[in-house]
Symmetry: C2
DNA sequence: CAATACCTTCTTGCATGGTAGAAATCCTAT
DNA sequence: ATAGGATTTCTACCATGCAAGAAGGTATTG
């Protein structure tokens, strides 16, 4: 029925198999397929995903709450431009939340996540030696994720993930050119955090983690400056 | 009260003048009018507020994201029961976020919010002398709110407010019986934070603030225990 | 009396038609 | 040619109809 309308040009019934519509659109924004300023029309998205406007609308509304899109009433929905200041603000919050995670995890003592962390750091050190930056990027993601889950605080995890989505952190790390010495320094910082957590030094782990996040934020911010200058 | 959602069929157009439907429902939950477990039917709310199901549905969906209600697919929407563990988790995050706010505000130096804070502390000290607990509760709220805005970090403010909504903090503070000596101690802690911020001692301010939040969380948790025992 | 199958009645979920408003475009007049 | 006003065409928004699933009560059967 709809095929007559949509089959021609766009709509290859992208039939969201398992992934939800919301995740689908979010990934497209985070992946940079929808650049800031792009209009996200309800009807076009509905046609493209072969659903009605209602679920599309719901997804867009949540994306607005997450801060990824801006809905201008009676005008349209657009991919938001994240300002440099916002990124700075988010890194400040990220630093604090991850510091808390390190402290909480240190307090817990012997937990399985500790082994995961140790394995991760060792793999990271190998990745640095092999200069395998893509493997390294994934390991970094896993390290931070393990820390969050290891803190055993669901509310913390929730706020953290919301923040990371808005930051498009994964995208930031991947696109930003890692400075030469940074990889080894970053891994050393990871190891230090790990050792402090193992030693159950909660305040030390918190401080070390905050320092680490601050240092890596500096790197990313420098890259984002140069990227911004090119525009 | 107990009949809750629908009074009669006579939809008393509670015509949400300026406040949005979302805020309206949220306040009712936070105010305790809708107790945990209460079913929030789309149709009944729609009739009651004289709108269609669609905006009601949108509001409920956001409330789910905020963690205030739980939507069980094809079953119904219910006011969530906040567990004791969740409250503990939220206080841990609250402590960290407010600590960050104190640090950031201390870093900023001479700003108008500093005067607001000083005026607030002085008023609080007077309220303690007069044993005016309702005035004190409002001043506490203002103190923390000023700190957050004074940090000049919108992302921090956003996460903080979401957290406070979920905690139903205002309700917690108002219903919980403040322990005798707590008021004066709490005010003294406020003053200490203020002085440290004034002295631009950012790390000191952060630690003092974290201690303060931790102390007051202990008070609230003790009360919430006794309340839970009564059920 | 107990257990099970069915049936009624709720619920949310999705699709779609109509509306108001904003913005861009075109048309007219100076 | 340019400025201003009417109009057309988008947009999000809201109301409502319809369908599918979950739950509870009831009747029937062992």
């Amino acid at each position: 029925m709809q095929e007559g309308i949509v089959s021609q040009d766009t709509a290859v019934d992208d039939s969201l198999g398992e992934t939800t519509l919301l995740d689908r659109i979010r990934e497209l924004i985070l992946g940079g397929d929808y650049k800031p300023g792009t209009a996200l029309s309800e009807v076009r998205l509905a046609e493209y995903y072969a659903v009605s406007r209602t679920p599309v609308r719901e997804a867009l509304k949540q994306l607005q709450i997450e801060g990824l899109v801006e809905i201008r009433p009676k005008v349209g929905t657009f991919v938001r431009e994240i300002t440099r200041r916002e990124i700075l603000e988010m890194f400040e919050v990220k630093e604090t939340l991850e510091g808390l995670a390190a402290r909480l995890m240190a307090r817990r003592g012997q937990i399985p996540e500790l082994d995961t962390l140790r394995t991760n750091v060792e793999a990271s050190e190998l990745a640095v030696l092999r200069n395998d930056s893509t493997a390294y990027a994934n390991l970094v993601h896993e390290f931070h994720e393990t820390l969050i889950t290891g803190s055993d605080n669901l509310k913390l995890a929730q706020h953290y993930r919301t923040l990371m989505n808005q930051l498009a952190y994964h995208h930031l790390v991947l696109t930003s050119v890692q400075h030469p010495g940074r990889l080894s320094r970053s891994t050393a910082e990871h190891r230090q955090v790990l050792e402090l957590i193992t030693a159950k030094d909660s305040v030390g782990a918190e401080l070390a983690m905050k320092d680490h996040v601050w240092a890596s934020s500096r790197e990313v911010m420098m890259d984002s400056v140069s990227r911004q200058d090119r525009n």
